[in-house]
């Protein structure tokens, strides 16, 4: 039974925007990918992968999806239309996160157990370089011009600045404890790095590799130890950043201009990573422990729904 007014709600929603597309979520315990339809807000496909899938990314035209199958020690290349694994890429041991260069040619992979960053040519399927970095590398980012790659090492607590041409480190910058994720912002002029144990986001000026701002978090009623920033994403205009706060079960909303935390949105348990719907009206969060994905309305900053996926969802990527 439903009240007649309920009928108006979908009509109003339908006139607002068209959020059609898909969010691909890796489930690290189930060895699967859950595909969420962003219009229906439900899982429409579940695809088998290698062991412990974590990092996931599409190429520019979304004809290929790359998956870090960490415990299979490989990066899998999948045809997203069919869900078929086309081939594996040599990734080095325990690949956790990676970044695809803007030209779609090179995949930069963090090998957590080997303390190296591996560069793989996706066409020839050959390793074309390995760079020694700090212990337990994880976060990976590439500048919009493709000239700088960042690897963050969780135990060394550093962001390593790699010249992509020379494939060598040209700078190392200290960050707070256990850096897990990095992203370039504002056209590549800023670098944001999240520190899980430190509970902060450090923002660097890319030109000088110096620290510009440090963002801290505080949620009423939540123990400070539980506030562990991990993945984060920026809106299309770059004016707002959303930061997953791990076991704090909240996503922080940060003003990209003032760096002030404007709101905390309640999501599921142990939120890892985030992905926007193709039209950027909705944000999807992977909640590792509760095994679901919370959908946040970007305009109102209200959580709309939590969608059950596989066990321990981790990475998320958008497909139009």
């Amino acid at each position: 039974m439903s009240f007649p007014l309920l009928l108006l709600a979908p009509l109003l929603a339908a006139t607002a925007s068209d959020p059609s597309g898909e969010i691909w979520v890796t489930n690290e315990k189930d060895d699967t990918i859950s595909v969420i339809d962003t219009a229906k807000l439900e899982v429409v496909r579940t695809i088998k992968t290698g062991e412990r899938p974590r990092g996931i990314t599409f190429n520019s035209d979304h004809s290929r999806v790359y998956i870090c199958a960490s415990d299979s020690d490989t990066v899998q290349v999948m045809d997203p239309a069919t869900g078929e694994i086309l081939h594996d890429l040599p990734s080095g041991e325990d690949p956790e996160q990676f970044i695809l260069a803007p030209d779609d040619k090179h995949l930069w992979i963090a090998n957590e157990d080997d303390a190296v960053t591996t560069v793989v040519d996706v066409d020839t399927r050959q390793v074309v370089g390995q760079i020694n970095v700090g212990i337990e590398p994880e976060g990976m980012a590439i500048s919009p011009d493709g000239k700088i790659v960042i690897t963050t090492s969780e135990t060394t607590n550093m962001a390593h600045w790699i010249d992509t041409e020379k494939k060598t480190i040209f700078a190392n910058t200290l960050v707070d404890s256990r850096p897990r994720h990095a992203e370039f912002a504002k056209g590549g002029t800023e670098l944001w790095v999240s520190s899980e144990i430190g509970g902060t986001i450090t923002i660097f000026d890319v030109a000088t590799q110096t620290e510009k701002v440090k963002i801290r978090f505080e949620i009423a009623g939540v123990n400070a130890d539980l506030i562990q920033p991990v993945g984060f994403e920026f809106t299309a205009d770059g004016k707002t950043a959303f930061v997953a706060l791990g076991p704090a079960n909240h996503v922080a909303v940060i003003n990209g201009e003032t760096f002030a935390v404007e709101k905390y949105v309640l999501v599921g348990r142990r939120v890892w990573h985030l992905a926007f719907s193709p039209d950027h009206t909705q944000l999807f969060t992977t909640n590792g422990v509760s095994g679901d994905v919370t959908v946040i309305d970007v305009a109102t900053l209200e959580p709309l729904k939590s969608i059950r996926v596989g066990r321990f969802p981790w990475g998320a990527a958008t497909r139009p």
Binding site: M1, A9, G221, G268, R269, K305, S306
Partner: protein, 280 residues
């Protein structure tokens, strides 16, 4: 103010209302509204009670829920959002009991006798009294929802509209319970027992403060007891309605409880058969 203070039917209606039944309804509504407006302290008291629960009690449990999603919720919620329908239920429960208290008072003062000797069916007079009290409760409930909205606890706008019939139904059911109790209680002094034996058990043994799955974690029997409590269903009816969703079970149980309480109350007020006859 009493019923006999009203002008004659002809004066009062100006020929607009012809049915004596409607005149009685209007007069009783008018009397309740005047009593409600006259007793500002009652409105303040009715609002302070749930607001203390919301601002103080719920604040300490902010992160207590959010481990499982149960309908009508589609995502994780704070405890403050969870508790609001239960506190609306609390307002209705206290209002129902308060109107039963005022019925006992009316009986002691003699105005009840005047009301019941009106040349109209007794059930109709009692229904009018019940409806009047329930409408006052709905006003209090919306005043509370408005304050909660200012505090930041908001529901979809269509939920506020959809909740009106649900809140009125729940208020009628709890008012009927009050009516029933008032037919059993002879003296105002006996009313304290209602607090201990009706209000507290009804409120705490319900889904007002914790969802039933949380009760089941403590004891399945406790959960079953809560599921049998009509107040649980009244609260769930309001909870679903605030998201413009229906809950057929909650509606059926609330209506059934309303009919049963109402019929027993009418029987109780019958001077020939009811409890009033035996006690007279």
């Amino acid at each position: 103010m009493t019923v006999e203070a009203f002008p004659s039917i002809e004066e009062e209606t100006g020929g607009f209302l012809h049915s004596h039944s409607l005149v009685a309804l209007r007069a009783i509504l008018h009397r309740e509204a005047l009593r409600f407006i006259g007793q500002r302290g009652r409105l303040v008291a009715a609002l302070v009670r749930p607001l203390v629960w919301l601002f103080v009690f719920a604040a300490g449990f902010r992160a207590a829920l959010g481990l499982a999603i149960t309908p009508p919720y589609q995502t994780y919620i704070t405890y403050e959002i969870y508790i609001v329908p239960g506190l609306v239920g609390m307002i209705l429960l206290f209002n129902g009991m308060q109107s039963s208290l005022s019925l006992v008072y009316d009986r002691e003062m003699g105005s009840m006798r005047l009301l019941l000797t009106a040349p109209l069916p007794r059930w109709w007079l009692l229904f009018c009294r019940l409806l009047a009290g329930s409408l006052m409760a709905v006003v209090q409930a919306y005043a509370f929802l408005a304050i909660a909205a200012l505090y930041g606890i908001r529901f979809p706008w269509f939920g506020y509209l959809a909740a009106a019939p649900a809140i009125l139904t729940a208020a009628m059911m709890l008012g009927a319970l009050g009516l029933l109790l008032s037919s059993f209680i002879r003296r105002l002094e006996n009313f304290a027992g209602v607090m201990n034996f009706v209000i507290f058990p009804m409120f705490f043994l319900s889904s007002a403060l914790y969802p039933l799955w949380k009760m089941a974690e403590a004891s399945p029997h406790l959960r079953d007891l809560c599921a049998l409590n009509p107040f649980t269903h009244a609260v769930e009816l309001i909870r679903f309605a605030l998201y413009a969703k229906g809950n057929l079970t909650a509606l059926a149980v609330t209506l059934a409880a309303f009919v049963i309480f109402g019929l027993v109350a009418i029987w109780g007020y019958d001077p020939a058969r009811g409890l009033t006859a035996r006690k007279a």
